[in-house]
Symmetry: C2
Subunit: 509 residues, 2 copies
C-alpha cells in the first residue's frame, strides 16, 4: 500500500510573492475553492500580519472553504502569531505556520542573533502558537544551508514545544536531490522525537530541481510537500503541484507513495491560476503546458497509433485535459448556458449568471462556435468583478501606416459619463493614454500580455495588464474578440483594482 503524502498548497502565499501576482480577497477565495475541489490537504491562505488584505483572505477562506485545513504564516514573533490567530479563529480546520532562520549566513548577516538565541525564540513562539491552535508547523528557514547538527537540535526542541509538522525549506533553491535526501534521512535518524511530527519540505526551483528534491525527500521519510499550482512563487518559483502529484501517481511503483489530489482537476486549477495572476504557463511546461501531451515526431505518432504506451506514460484525461467541444451557439438559451457552465464546474449566482449570459450572447453574435474555453474566459472575467469606480461605455479606435493612431473613449467615472479623444504610438497606447487622462490616474504599466485562448484571430482574446502605483502591483484582465476592446477592459479592470486597494488602505491606515 502507498503512503499518503500531504499536499500543502502555498499558491496563495508563496505563489502570490511572484512579481505582479498579487490577488485581491475575492480572487483568493475563488482560487481557494478550486484548491478544495482539487483536494489539497492544507491551504496556506496568506501571511496574516503582512497586510489587511491577507488577513481578510485568511479569515474568509477559513470560514467559507470546506475541506482543506487553512493555514496562516507568521514570523516567530508574538505580534505575528497573535495576528495569525485572529485571522484563523473562526476556521473549523486551522493551522499556524511559524518560521525562523537557522542558517549562520542568515543569523549573522540578517537576523544578527546567535544560534542559542534563535533556538530559544523558536521554542517560545511554538509554545505560544500551540497555546492558541492545536496544529502548529515550524519552518527552519534556509535549512539547506544550516549546520545539520544545529538543525536537528532546533527541530527536536520545537517538536518538544508542540510543533506537529516540521518543515525543511530549501529557501534559496540551492540543494540537489542526493544532498537533500541525505539531509532528510539525517533529520529522521537524529531527531529523537521525530515520530511525533510530520517532516515537510518546501523547495524552490532556482536550479530546476524543486520537484526532484521534494521526491528525494519523500524517499527518505518526508510526509508533506509544500508546492504551488504552476510552480509560481519567489524568483523561479516553488515545487510545482502538478508535477509532484503526477510523478508520485505515475511512479507509484517506485515511490510507494501517493496523494489525495483529484488529478482530473489539475488542468482547470492551472488555468484559473494563470487567469487570476496573469502569469502564463510555457507550452513545454510539464503536465499543464499546451504541448505536454502533443506528439510531433512522425516516429512517435506512428508508435502511438500502434500502441499508446509506446510513447505515452500518462493519459491527458487523467489531468482533466479533454478536447474542448463545440457546445453553444447564438441560438442557445439561458438554460443550456447555465447547464453547460455547471458541467464544466461553475455555479454562478443569478446576477453573475445574467451578466455572463449577456457577454455570451454578444460573443455568439461575433463567432459561430463557442467553446468551453470561451465560457471559462467569460466566467472567470465575471467572477473577478469588483466594485467598479470606472466603467467602459464605448470605444472607437483608428490606426494604420502613415497616420497617428487615435482613440475615442466613453466611460462612466464615479457615475458620471465622460467622453474624450486622444492619440498614441499605437491604437492600444492611444486608448490607454486617453483612459489615463480621463481618470487622472498616475499608474505605471509594467506588462501587457495577450493570449488568444482558442487559437485564431476570431477567438476571444484575453488581455492581461500589470499596473503599478505607489509600489502596489495589480493585474487586470479583459476578454473580447476585438483586441483593442479587450485591452481597454483589462486596463479599466486594473484601475478599478487599484482604486479598491486605495480605499482599503485609507480604511486601514
Amino acid at each position: 500500500m502507498s503512503e499518503i503524502i500531504k499536499i500543502f498548497d502555498t499558491t496563495l502565499r508563496d505563489g502570490e510573492q511572484s512579481p505582479g501576482a498579487s490577488m485581491n480577497v475575492d480572487e483568493k477565495l475563488t482560487l481557494a475553492k478550486q484548491l478544495a475541489r482539487l483536494g489539497v490537504d492544507i491551504i496556506e491562505a496568506g501571511f496574516a500580519i503582512s497586510s489587511p488584505g491577507d488577513f481578510e483572505a485568511i479569515k474568509r477562506i477559513g470560514a467559507e472553504v470546506e475541506g482543506p485545513v487553512v493555514c496562516s504564516l507568521a514570523r516567530a514573533k508574538e505580534v505575528d502569531i497573535k495576528r495569525a490567530w485572529e485571522a484563523l479563529r473562526d476556521a473549523p480546520k486551522r493551522r499556524l505556520h511559524t518560521f525562523h532562520s537557522t542558517s549562520d549566513i542568515h543569523l549573522i548577516h540578517q537576523v544578527k542573533i546567535n544560534r542559542a538565541e534563535a533556538l530559544k525564540r523558536s521554542v517560545e513562539m511554538v509554545k505560544l502558537a500551540k497555546s492558541l491552535i492545536e496544529d502548529v508547523e515550524f519552518s527552519a528557514m534556509d535549512a539547506t544551508r544550516t549546520d545539520p547538527g544545529y538543525l536537528c537540535d532546533v527541530l527536536e526542541a520545537v517538536i518538544e514545544a508542540g510543533a506537529s509538522t516540521v518543515n525543511i525549506p530549501d529557501t534559496v533553491g540551492y540543494t540537489t536531490p542526493e544532498e537533500f535526501g541525505k539531509l532528510i534521512r539525517t533529520v529522521r535518524e537524529r531527531v529523537k522525537n521525530i515520530d511525533r511530527a510530520v517532516i515537510s519540505v518546501h523547495c524552490h526551483n532556482d536550479l530546476g530541481l524543486a520537484v526532484a528534491n521534494s521526491l528525494a525527500a519523500v524517499l527518505n521519510g518526508a510526509g508533506q510537500i509544500e508546492c504551488t499550482v504552476n510552480g509560481i512563487g519567489e524568483r523561479a518559483g516553488n515545487c510545482s503541484m502538478e508535477e509532484i502529484v503526477m510523478a508520485l501517481k505515475t511512479r507509484k511503483d517506485f515511490y510507494a507513495a501517493d496523494t489525495r489530489v483529484h488529478t482530473e482537476e489539475i488542468t482547470r486549477s492551472s488555468r484559473l491560476v494563470t487567469k487570476i495572476t496573469g502569469i502564463p504557463v510555457q507550452p513545454n511546461k510539464a503536465i499543464v503546458g499546451a504541448n505536454a501531451f502533443a506528439h510531433e515526431s512522425g516516429i512517435h505518432q506512428d508508435g502511438l497509433l500502434k500502441e499508446r504506451t509506446t510513447y505515452e506514460i500518462m493519459r491527458p484525461e487523467s489531468v482533466g485535459l479533454v478536447k474542448t467541444n463545440l457546445v453553444l451557439g447564438k441560438h442557445s438559451g439561458r438554460h443550456a448556458f447555465r447547464d453547460r457552465l455547471k458541467e464544466i464546474g461553475y455555479e454562478l449566482a443569478d446576477d453573475d449568471l445574467n451578466k455572463a449570459f449577456e457577454r455570451f450572447k454578444r460573443l455568439a453574435d461575433q463567432k459561430k462556435e463557442v467553446f468551453d474555453e470561451d465560457l471559462e474566459a467569460i466566467v472567470s472575467d465575471e467572477m473577478q468583478q469588483i466594485q467598479e469606480v470606472y466603467a467602459l461605455k464605448s470605444l472607437h479606435a483608428e490606426s494604420g501606416t502613415g497616420i497617428t493612431p487615435s482613440a475615442t473613449v466613453e466611460m462612466t467615472i464615479g457615475g458620471k459619463t465622460v467622453k474624450q479623444t486622444g492619440s498614441g504610438d499605437g491604437p492600444v497606447d492611444a486608448v490607454y493614454r486617453t483612459i489615463a487622462a480621463m481618470t487622472g490616474t498616475k499608474s505605471k504599466l509594467d506588462a501587457y500580455l495577450v493570449k488568444g485562448i482558442t487559437g485564431g484571430t476570431d477567438a476571444l482574446g484575453e488581455v492581461t495588464v500589470k499596473v503599478e502605483e505607489e509600489g502596489k502591483k495589480v493585474a487586470g484582465h479583459g476578454a473580447d474578440t476585438d483586441i483593442i476592446i479587450a485591452s481597454a477592459r483589462a486596463y479599466v479592470n486594473a484601475l478599478n483594482k487599484l482604486e479598491y486597494w486605495k480605499k482599503g488602505k485609507s480604511k486601514n491606515s
Copy 2:
C-alpha cells in the same frame, strides 16, 4: 579538478519537434552561430533524411559555423545514414548519430522485430556509419524501459562496432533520479568496453525531472548531456541547457563537474530561441524566466540589502542578464546604431544594416527611448527575412464598440500592387481576412501571440503567429509599436515562409 561534461545541444533537432517550432534554414544558421558563441560542444543540426530543409541546414551549419562538432540524426537504416553522410561531408568537425529502439514495448508493438535482430541491425548500421565518419554516436531509444541486461549487451556490441558515444535516452520522460543514476552505474559496471566510449544521456521532462535525471547520470559516470535551450522539444521538452549548465556551475562543490559553456551568453541564446520558434519562456522558469532573479518578499529584500548571499545563489550577470540601458534616440546616427549593435552581439551586412536602420529611425520617431531589447527585436526581424512573395505596403484599421471592425490593406503580391478592404470580428481578424482574400491562401491560423518586450504599450510589440497549410506549420514574426501593424507583418512573414516551403517542395518532389 572538475571533470568537463560535454554539452550536446539538440535545440535544432529535438527542439524543433516542439509543435509549431519548425525553423527555416536561415533561422537555423542564425541559431547555430549563437550556439557556437555559447560554447556548446556538439550541435545536433537536424535529421538529414527527414526533409530537404533539414539536409540543407546541416550542410550549411557544418560548412559555416566554427567551433562545435556538427551532428545529424539518422535511424539505423542504410538510406538514413547515407543521407546524413552527404549532409555532413563538407563539415570539418562532424558526428553521425544513429538510433534504434531497444525496449520490448517498442520492439513488440512498433518495430515488430526481436531483440537479437535489433542488436544485429544496430551493430551493422554503426559499422556502416563508422566507415563514413570517425565520430559515431549510438542511441538506445526508450533505454529507460529496456531490460538492463539487454541494454548492456547492445551497448557493448555497438562500441565494439565503433560507436565512440553511447546515449541512454529517457525517451518518454518516465525515469527518476535514483533509478536513472542506478541504470548509468549498471552500464558503467557491466559494459566491458565502456572505457572506449563516452556515456551520454538524453532526458525528457514529462514529470519535471529531466535536469535532475541528467545530474544523477553525471554523478554516476555520464560524460555528455543532451539538452535544448529553454528546454523545448517533444511534449514537455528536453533537459534545459541553462538549468543543467548553471546547476553544475553553482554546485561544482557537489558534482565535481563543469561544462565549457560561456554562461554569459545564456540569456541572449534563450531570447533568440524564443524569437525564432515563437515559444515563450514562463516568468517563473529557472535561470531565464523574467522573474528568476526577482526578489519580491520584504524579508528577502531586507536580507539582500544586508548581504546578497543571504538569498542569492547566482549573480544575474553570470547568465548575461544586465539591466538594459537607454542607448539611442531619434538623433542617433547610423554609426552609433552599428556600434551599439556590435556591442550587443550583432554584425549585419550593409544591406541588412540599412534596412534595420530605417526601422530604427521609424521607431525612434514613435518612442523617445530605444532600448537594447528594441534593437534586438528589430535585428532579429531583419535576420529572419526571407525572399518575399508578399509585402505589406500600407494598412488602415478601424474598430470599436457597436461598429463592424474593418481594415484596408495595400500589398505587393509578386511585384503587383493590390488594395482591398474587408471586415472581421476584431481589427486583427479584419486585417487577416483581408490579407487571406488578397493572397488567396488557404492556411489555418493555429496560434496568435503578442509580447510587449520592453513593457508598456508604447513599446515595440512583437507578434508571433503560427500558420499551418497542408500539414506544414510555420511561425511568422512582426514588430511595431502598433499592434495591428505588427500583427499584419507577422502574418505576411508566415505566408512568405509557407511560399518558400512550397517552392522548395515542388523543387524536391
